[in-house]
């Protein structure tokens, strides 16, 4: 690894339908939150990284111009990073690279989305080109349904078992969200509520699907000198990985999913992790759909191939389990997409520094944050720890 880098503070907006504020004012809310948390102000920042989903989501092209004032970016270098659902993780990586390179000591990283202002599923459909893929995959649910079915078919997972495990994930996360002050959807569900909700794309039902959210997240990355100078609790970047597949959906195997497995291996190797299920204390998996969370448990080495459902049903990944995943409620409860993977990073930073409040995993020292993007094309991870 290059220079040591720490996250020294995070800020989130209240996520949900935010019709009462303009988009830049909502971005500023996250920026002000992280400055209040760290005691820093815009003049301390060396550079700014920001990102969102494609411009169609906002109806304003190249939103970094629009947000520059809200980000405190006037007179400073600024970079936009955009990789679809992975955007938030790419933002974190960009901030990390900038500090690790030695070119900056304090970098403000902000992800945001205002999904209620446009048509999110129409925007998602434009991630696919019109020559071949677009007519056949209906927004994000279509992509993830087809992948979930492939996983079940490959390992001959009985439909009832995967349905039961997916329902448990939904019930657990929607309940856990009550303990996260920033979460959007907080609701007490029964397994039957999930299993009887309407089908969106078979086998995925309403309560298996993440919401649209408006919201923003801001994170400050700092060099070792700066992090040690301030009386804050730093979350140290222990490892990161990012990997992509071929563009066309049918060209790669989405079950023994190379880009997820390679990205995880890169991050584990840098962090010196050989047994992730035992060594990690918490993980914030990018889980827009219940089944996709289970697929990642296998790709990231938390479960043996084809066995994630069994582990879920045993409670391995629930709060109080061996490796709690998404104690924040995850993407399933809160999904302002350009911010979503950065929220995974922010939540993991809060966990490993003991600052997660009501959803704190007791004694968490090492955590994994994850982002997923494109037509299931990109995976990115960041490992954070309490010790340098």
């Amino acid at each position: 690894m290059a220079r040591a880098v720490a996250i020294i503070g995070v800020g989130q907006t209240k996520h949900g339908r935010r019709n009462e504020v303009t988009y830049p004012d909502m971005v500023r809310e996250a920026v002000q939150a992280v400055f209040a948390e760290t005691g820093l102000d815009p003049k301390d920042i060396d550079g700014i990284v920001c990102g969102t989903m494609p411009s169609m989501m906002e109806g304003v092209a190249l939103t970094h111009f629009y947000f520059a004032d809200a980000l405190g970016a006037v007179g400073k270098p600024m970079m936009k990073t955009e990789t679809c659902g992975t955007t938030g993780m790419s933002l974190a990586h960009t901030g990390y690279y900038w500090v690790a390179s030695g070119m900056a000591d304090l970098v403000l990283v902000v992800g945001s989305e205002k999904m209620y202002e446009g048509d999110s599923q129409a925007t998602m459909s434009t991630v696919m080109e019109p020559f071949y893929l677009r007519p056949f995959l209906t927004g994000a649910p279509g992509v993830f349904s087809i992948q979930a079915q492939q996983w079940m078919a490959r390992y001959k997972i009985p439909e009832e078992k995967s349905r039961e495990a997916a329902a448990k994930i939904s019930v657990d996360h929607h309940r856990d969200a009550h303990d996260n002050p920033y979460a959007h959807i907080k609701v007490d569900l029964t397994l039957e509520d999930v299993k009887n909700s309407r089908v969106i794309n078979y086998p995925i039902r309403f309560w298996d699907v993440c919401p649209n959210s408006d919201g923003a997240c801001a994170v400050i990355f700092a060099s070792e000198d700066q992090a040690k100078k301030m009386s804050l609790k730093p979350a140290w970047v222990k490892g990161l990985g990012f990997c992509g597949d071929e563009y066309w959906y049918g060209d790669s195997d989405k079950v023994a999913w190379q880009c997820a497995m390679i990205a995880a291996k890169q991050a584990y190797d840098l962090a010196g992790i050989s047994n992730p299920r035992r060594e990690l204390n918490v993980a914030e998996i990018y889980n827009p759909f219940t089944w996709i969370e289970m697929l990642h448990y296998e790709c990231f080495g938390f479960s043996e191939p084809g066995r994630a459902c069994d582990d879920v049903l045993k409670g391995v990944f629930a709060r109080g389990g061996e490796l709690p995943c998404d104690p924040s409620g995850g993407v399933l409860c809160t999904n302002p997409i350009g911010a979503t993977a950065l929220i995974r990073v922010a939540e993991t930073a809060l966990q490993v520094t003991g600052q997660a409040g009501a959803h704190q995993i007791e004694g968490a020292k090492l955590g994994l944050a994850h982002g997923l993007g494109g037509v299931s094309q990109f995976n990115g991870l960041m490992i954070l720890g309490s010790e340098l």
Partner: protein, 154 residues
């Protein structure tokens, strides 16, 4: 009392005209003649459908063109019950990855020719491994939907 916040309504309508390029042009022309063209990578020998100008694995220019089989098996599938913006086919529909015989990737298209409203019957008839065959529409336009769908072979 419910608060109402003022929003500004605004629509953007942008026309696009995409260059098809020689490879997809030949592929689309093939569809008009009820042919599904594939082409082969000279480095890894993979037969890819739709055909490409270059191999996404090896980054070399693709080689020989071969007509792909019009039959294959379903690898995975999903149903869509909700209408999505800009979709040319109205729900209910089944999107599926289909492995055409003799090719080395999965081809994304629709499965049809059966009652899509009876989900219990669908689960019996459509599984990973189900054999399917292309069904062509009468009036060809040189586009993906010249193949109406792939129908299970009973």
């Amino acid at each position: 009392m419910t608060k109402h916040f003022k929003t500004l309504k605004h629509n953007i309508w942008l026309p696009y005209q995409y260059a098809v390029g020689p490879v997809f042009n030949r592929f689309y022309e093939g569809l008009k003649e009820e042919k599904i063209w594939a082409n082969q990578c000279p480095a890894c020998s993979k037969m890819l459908v739709p055909p490409r100008s270059f191999c996404p694995h090896c980054s070399v220019d693709m080689g020989e063109w071969v007509e792909a089989a019009q039959e294959g098996k379903i690898v995975t599938w999903m149903t869509a019950n909700e209408p999505f913006f800009g979709q040319p086919v109205q729900p209910p529909l089944i999107g599926a990855l289909i492995h055409l015989d003799g090719t080395d990737c999965n081809f994304l298209h629709l499965v049809g020719g059966l009652d899509l409203n009876d989900s219990a019957a669908l689960k019996e008839k459509i599984k990973a491994g189900t054999r399917v065959r292309a069904v062509w529409r009468a009036e060809k336009k040189g586009e993906m939907l010249d193949i109406m769908y792939f129908q299970p072979i009973s």
